[in-house]
């Protein structure tokens, strides 16, 4: 029987672990960007440290763009005339560059402080 008990405890522990901390997912800082004529608007944005971030990118151009950043570890295709959401984990203070992978002239940076 102690075996059974231990297994139940382990299962409960695993479930608790998988739930994660819900507060973390909810309290994201939202950053709205528009993309038009091959440029991010605004191209310089900032956010507080240690809080998750959600980028909302509205692509107003007639062609798809790919929001990408190696330091933020994200890449996401945003189709022409649509909006994409990119979730980023809580970050340490610093400067994080992002760009359009389909158009290297479109660049911007996120400052976390």
């Amino acid at each position: 029987m102690p075996m059974m008990k231990r297994l139940t405890l382990a299962a409960l522990g695993a479930i608790a672990l998988l739930q994660g901390s819900p507060s973390q997912a909810q309290q994201a800082t939202e950053i709205r960007l528009t993309y038009s004529k091959g440029q991010f608007q605004p191209s310089q944005v900032s956010a507080p440290a240690d809080k998750p971030i959600a980028f909302r990118i509205k692509n107003l151009d007639a062609k798809a763009m790919e929001f990408e950043s190696s330091s933020l570890r994200v890449e996401k295709v945003v189709a022409a005339g649509s909006e994409g959401v990119v979730n980023v984990r809580a970050l340490k203070p610093g400067r994080y560059e992002f760009y359009d992978d389909f158009n290297e002239k479109a660049r911007g940076a996120l400052t976390v402080e």
């Binding site: 997912a25 007639a62 790919e66 909006e83 389909f102």
Partner: protein
Amino acid sequence: MLAALIIVFREVFEAGLIIGIVLAVTGSVPHRNRWIGGGVLVGALAACLVAAFTGALSQLFAGMGQELFNAAILAVAVTMLTWHNVWMAHHGREMAGEMRAVGQAVAEGSKSLLALAVVVGVAVLREGSEVALFLYGVAASDGGSGLSFAIGGFIGLVLGAGVCLLTYFGLMRIPPRALFATTTTLITLLAAGMAAQAVVFLERANWLNSLDTVVWDSGWLISETSLAGRTLHTLIGYTDQPTEMQLLVYAAVVLATFMLMRLTGSHPADRAVAAG
């Protein structure tokens, strides 16, 4: 033109590596070209379809449709690769022997080929949809420079095919006896890397929040965006900032493959059941 070349090559590169490995794995299996070619074709068609509906796909699951779709197709590829390894551990010996010519072995071989064709299809689909979107965007916006972009894209595609052939002929230089062990290891790590990549997509979609602490940052040594980083990323799932969950899933896939291969490989008596 150069921009198109670079973008297309970068996307095709990963698919090229994977197809090269699959070609080497299936080196002696009859009709393999038909299956792999079919995988490439279906993958390319699916890529165009996905590209056409990217906007709609994105809107699913509260804007996380792309991420979840990627995680799902990666999971399919991981399953197929693992299944192939386990299947080979089970039947590999008889296939390598005199029974290869027997009709049944051919029929059995096609089962494993289907799994690998799916893997190829998934690889082409993942990379191809971005290429299709990019090239479509270029073609739609400026007709004038369209031709030079098309040429750039085509050269990128040819270079990608070159990567595929290089991988294939590189692997074929390995003596047949060692080839099986090599490809088994390669496919196991390929599957583990894809599983870890699926974790990234689930983390991005906020579907997986636990154990998301980055364990190390080896970006200073090999950046994931460099050519070496990209190659290692595809082959063994290298990432310069893995999270705990990624490492856990990676280890789990390697361990599961190893255990399943031991379990099925050591009981040749079960063969009759599986074959029947």
